[in-house]
Symmetry: C2
Subunit: 261 residues, 2 copies
């Protein structure tokens, strides 16, 4: 459920709390979806300084001074928590990182679906907010795809960071119907799409970063999202919001959007 904006807000918070600090201890619960032996990870990063926290797509990368990286994906229901080490640790945690500044970072997930990767390969697709993700790139990739544009935007092998909610927002902002076939979207619309990706996400980042706790993003979305929002009946333009299904995902859209097919 957390997409690029929420992960960006988490990044700010976690970078502010821990960058430069040294990891004292880390733990992973037995059901944690970790792609390496917990002991190997612990042995590698215990005692290491957290040099940088990076967001890429919907993942956070914890870069340590040893050169090791721990990547966290929250999947549907995961969340981050920052708390003093002496506090009672949250019971739904799957991973714990304790630092020498007296604070701990917890990855919490009731379903334990959050995924943690140790020294992962570099992502192949560009991040949605990177400069590589421009109209040229989109034109090239859209030209040889016959799937729905919404499915394209949420495909993390094409563009990293966009999920179901913000894909609807972006498509509405660019006036492209979510069911449109990728290779039928004309160049002008692709240019609008490229702009909308950056604008919609940048504004969302601001909104979510303004929250006290990024985990409260659900409420904020009901306030900020313009069409992917079950509490709204009409778009800002006054058009009735419709719902449909595109490749197994619920989509919200209006007839202000043009269907290319």
């Amino acid at each position: 459920m957390p997409e690029l904006p929420e992960m960006t807000a988490y990044r700010e918070k976690i970078a502010g709390a821990f960058e430069g600090a040294t990891l004292v201890e880390c733990e992973f619960t037995p059901d944690c979806k970790l792609d390496a032996p917990a002991e190997a990870v612990t042995a590698a990063i215990r005692g290491a300084q957290l040099s940088q926290v990076e967001r890429n797509g919907k993942e956070l990368f914890l870069h340590f001074a040893t050169g090791d990286t721990v990547a966290v994906h929250l999947m549907l229901g995961g969340r981050f928590n920052v708390a003093p080490i002496e506090d009672e640790p949250p019971d739904t945690r799957v991973a714990t990182f304790k630092f020498d500044n007296g604070k701990a970072l917890y990855v919490r997930d009731r379903d334990a679906w959050a995924r943690i990767k140790f020294n992962p390969e570099a992502p192949k697709a560009p991040d949605a907010l990177s400069s590589e993700l421009n109209a040229e790139y989109l034109k090239k990739r859209l030209a040889r795809s016959r799937k729905a544009i919404k499915a394209f935007l949420t495909d993390q092998d094409r563009v990293r960071g966009i999920g179901n909610a913000y894909s609807d927002e972006i498509l509405w902002a660019s006036r492209v119907a979510p069911q449109s076939t990728c290779n039928k979207v004309p160049d002008e619309a692709v240019e609008a799409l490229a702009e909308a990706i950056h604008e919609v996400l940048a504004e969302a980042v601001e909104n979510v970063c303004a929250l006290d706790d990024p985990s409260d993003y659900r409420k904020a979305r009901l306030r900020d999202l313009k069409v992917h929002n079950h509490t709204r009946e009409f778009s800002p333009g006054g058009a009735k919001i419709q719902t449909g299904e595109v490749s197994k995902s619920k989509t919200y859209f209006t007839d202000e959007q043009v269907l290319y097919s």
Copy 2:
């Protein structure tokens, strides 16, 4: 187009003409679909004795005494020719094998789609006429497939040798509708299917082997096939032959066949 029975007839003919003979020369045209450098193949088998000709699925395997094997798949329109070396070679040939008994084996294909493999991997699926292809095997594989039974029978990764034409014949003989879902076909019907596979193909092998030239199989099919046959209006049981489409293939069937779905 040639399926198991036609390839069996070719095998008899080619084995009779060449087994025990020594390869004098071989050639491949530039557009021949050969999965190894022509020079490497030639260097390996020139001067070698042809120890055995084997049919497996819709392929013929030419086994040489060196341990090398050349596998030929005729695809849609390929055919074999046996002729004295001094005869004019056929102009649509993609491969030529000349033997020390004065005869040559030609692979002919107007479209040059026939595929030739050098020392191929052993096939994973059982041949339709092997003892491994019994009711037990079919029950096991059908149980975890949700596709149409006709698509299953023609899937060379499940059963080797059956194509569009004989799949219809086999399904009619076992009174199973081609559109039936694999995992819905009851055990009794699977047993009938296993029997029909062997009986229908064995009879077809006899029919095609009786031809002077296996390449004439098209005419023979119009005489012998009971339902996959555009010249017939009724099955032997008097039922009207219907046509339909199953996974992009034309299918002939009657309502004597039970649909399991």
